[in-house]
């Protein structure tokens, strides 16, 4: 019964995911064409294959599928604009089932076997590290949109880039705003609760240090494992301590939803509630927490569907036309993925080819690039230091930009948070 003992010691999630991924890979799950309506000069040239491993199933499946849509949307737009150096673009997306081991296999296949000319990163810091290690062996650039955790940049990898804001600074804007509130209005106590994930964990200590300096007392500081299926005790403990401010390190909708439901059950409504991810998932988030309960919840990010930039607005319109729904329901993952394609396309154009070393050198040259999320300028580690974190808040059923309060497009934050429902 070796299999049984393996299952009962908690490895099932990974083992299951691995088997599922193997099956998915064997079936070559999704060779997603970008539509490749190549016209004019692109029609005569061979297509450029761009490979990506994405979590089409498993824990990150909601984000992975949104990323797939973002990559495909970019590829379709790029083809409409003549492709890359006149070649039509074809996306080759295969599923990793949210499993780091499968990510390694997938990039071996994409680069080593299929010889794709370019690769895009998978979703999440957790999965980008093994992916970038494979890419580095083949001296490929690994550009991603959701791999901004510090562990990516402290791994000694020279080929990895993240077009979004560095994760560790995600909560700085919010914490600075809280610290700037008049003392009489400022929260007196705060709880910091996070899942043990390389995306969330680095963010909380930075915010905590700012708030501590502003006199906000920490009443609870806890880390919980990613495999939790019952959040009741943790969330009840937060509610029991009644902090004025709750900072939740979350990677998905279910975590924020579970905390929200327990807070409502416990008749506890903090003055401010921010979650690192989940509230940025648009309509999915509202559905999970229940309509009306989303109002007042903050989320840090670099982009939102109402972002006033012409290519961003065009992308949102195209997304709604292709996949349905409304603009406010467009997931931030879509923009992060789309921006990856934009940045690599600019690098290919500037270097006049697909030479990976030239692309890496160009990206590290300090040049400022354009993306739907705003400017991109990489430092030597591959972090994008050109953008500033914004903080968004759900107000009257819409996600709106609120912090920095002086930034263009910001509306006044709702503080204290309105009652649930």
């Amino acid at each position: 019964m070796r299999v049984l003992s393996r299952l009962t010691n908690g490895n099932m999630r990974l083992g299951g995911a691995a088997l599922l991924a193997a099956g998915a890979s064997a079936l070559s799950v999704a060779v997603a064409s970008a539509g490749a309506h190549a016209t004019g000069r692109t029609a005569s040239k061979s297509p450029i294959m761009i490979g990506a491993s994405l979590s089409l199933s498993g824990d990150f499946s909601a984000d992975g599928q949104a990323f797939a849509r973002g990559y495909q949307l970019w590829a379709a737009d790029q083809n409409k604009a003549g492709g890359l150096l006149g070649h039509p673009v074809k996306m080759q997306i295969i599923s990793d089932a949210s499993n780091p081991a499968q990510v390694t296999t997938n990039y071996q296949k994409l680069i080593g076997s299929d010889h794709d000319q370019l690769v895009f990163a998978p979703f999440s810091t957790l999965l980008t590290i093994p992916a970038a290690r494979v890419a580095e062996r083949y001296q490929y650039a690994m550009v991603g949109g959701a791999d901004g955790g510090p562990t990516v940049f402290s791994s000694g990898l020279r080929n990895v880039f993240d077009v979004s804001i560095p994760v560790k600074n995600n909560l700085v804007t919010f914490a600075t705003w809280v610290a700037s509130l008049p003392k009489s209005k400022r929260p007196k106590t705060a709880a910091y609760v996070t899942v043990n994930d390389p995306f969330t964990q680095p963010q909380l200590p930075v915010a905590q240090a700012i708030l501590k300096k502003a006199g906000v007392k920490t009443v609870l500081n806890k880390v919980f494992p990613a495999e939790v299926t019952d959040y009741n005790s943790i969330a009840s403990q937060v509610a029991g301590d009644k902090p004025d401010l709750v900072i939740l390190g979350s990677v998905d909708v279910p975590t924020v939803s579970a905390f929200t439901h327990v807070f409502i059950q416990q008749h506890y409504n903090p003055k401010a509630f921010i979650a690192t991810a989940g509230p940025d998932q648009g309509a999915q988030f509202v559905k999970a927490v229940g309509s009306g309960n989303e109002n007042g919840i903050f989320v840090p990010n670099g982009w939102y569907p109402g972002f006033k930039k012409s290519d961003s607005q065009k992308m949102v319109r195209e997304y709604v036309a292709k996949y349905g729904g409304s603009a406010s329901g467009v997931n931030a993952d879509v923009a992060e993925a789309y921006a990856v394609g934009q940045v690599l396309a600019q690098a290919v154009k500037a270097t006049h080819g697909f030479d990976q070393q030239k692309i890496i050198s160009y990206l590290k040259s300090g040049v400022t690039l354009n993306s739907v999320q705003g400017p991109v300028k990489f430092d030597k580690l591959g972090e994008n230091l050109a953008q500033k974190t914004l903080t968004f808040q759900w107000q009257n059923g819409k996600l709106v930009q609120v912090i920095p309060t002086s930034a263009a497009g910001s509306v006044r934050p709702q503080y204290p948070k309105p009652a649930w429902g």
Binding site: L19, A62, V223, P225, T229, I264, K287
Partner: protein
């Protein structure tokens, strides 16, 4: 750490234990009678949640009345799975092969759910999902109280069926020695089919409570299965009361450690407790050694 918070964690653990017992009851029944490890139990919980979602959103049938439809529907699914797949497994490698077979079933169900619903998260809603009652100085969530009540009622009903009916005698005879049961006239195949049907049917009840307390998508089931298997092994394979006792034991330990020490250590502590209990009582808390001797 106040005594009040600790007491609240114990109460939370007991209530959540009832919910997990609901999800594990079917697994232990199938495990005990047939030596089949139903890896698909997690996804079946999610399937139960989706069926309730479908009835609630598209037919306007409440979550609890909807069980009158979802439980029989899941029973029929269980019967079909037993007839199509489990019955074909040879006795000598039934347990090992069952892992593969039920895993395949899980993948198929997951694939179908993904094709229909996509990977967007859903959550069941009803007036009692966010409400609570103030008792013993705490707010106790109505949905957990309902789940615990249903767990007790269901487990009592299963216990009655197993120990007070002719069918139950057949189940227990098959559990103790299937060859002897066959020889004294028990229709073992029929017993097995109905047992799987019942085991999968009760999962619908677990699904409705899980879906009301957690957001779910077709991939959510994988996080459940390791904990459900731990509950079944600790409680004693085939023991309904054992599943309840083990679920409460594990969840209380989990919640107390999470609150008193750290949520990161909670699963480690309860798995250590599992190892200690099994080294003293290999048959589990309420299991019978003879059952495993088959």
């Amino acid at each position: 750490m106040s005594g009040t918070a600790l007491l609240e964690a114990v109460i939370d653990g007991i209530l959540a234990g009832g919910v997990y017992a609901l999800m594990a009851a079917g697994l232990t029944l199938i495990f005990g009678v047939m030596d089949i490890i139903n890896i698909a139990q997690g996804i079946m919980v999610i399937l139960g949640a989706y069926l309730s979602f479908e009835l609630s959103v598209h037919a306007g049938i409440g979550l609890l009345p909807g069980l009158l439809i979802t439980v029989p529907a899941m029973f029929c699914l269980g019967v079909a799975i037993e007839f199509c797949f489990m019955r074909r497994l040879r006795d000598q490698d039934r347990t090992q092969m069952s892992i593969l077979v039920t895993y395949a079933v899980a993948i198929v169900i997951e694939g179908v759910l993904t094709a229909i619903y996509g990977v967007d998260y859903q959550q069941l809603s009803a007036s009692y999902v966010n409400s609570s009652v103030h008792m013993f100085g705490f707010y106790l969530p109505d949905i957990y109280l309902i789940g615990f009540g249903m767990a007790v009622a269901l487990l009592v009903a299963l216990y009655y069926m197993l120990y007070r009916t002719k069918f139950g005698r057949g189940v227990r005879a098959s559990l103790q020695n299937r060859t002897a049961a066959d020889l004294i006239g028990v229709d073992v195949n029929r017993v097995r089919t109905l047992t799987v049907g019942i085991g999968v049917g009760v999962t619908a009840v677990g699904g409705v409570v899980f879906g009301a307390t957690n957001s779910f998508n077709p991939n959510t089931g994988y996080d459940l299965i390791s904990r459900l298997l731990a509950i079944v092994v600790l409680g004693g394979m085939g023991s309904i009361a054992g599943a309840m006792a083990a679920a409460v034991f594990i969840l209380v330990i989990n919640d107390v450690v999470a609150v008193w020490w750290s949520p990161t250590w909670a699963p480690i502590v309860y798995f250590v407790a599992l190892v200690i209990v099994l080294s003293v009582r290999p048959q589990g808390l309420l299991g019978h050694a003879a059952v495993r001797a088959q």
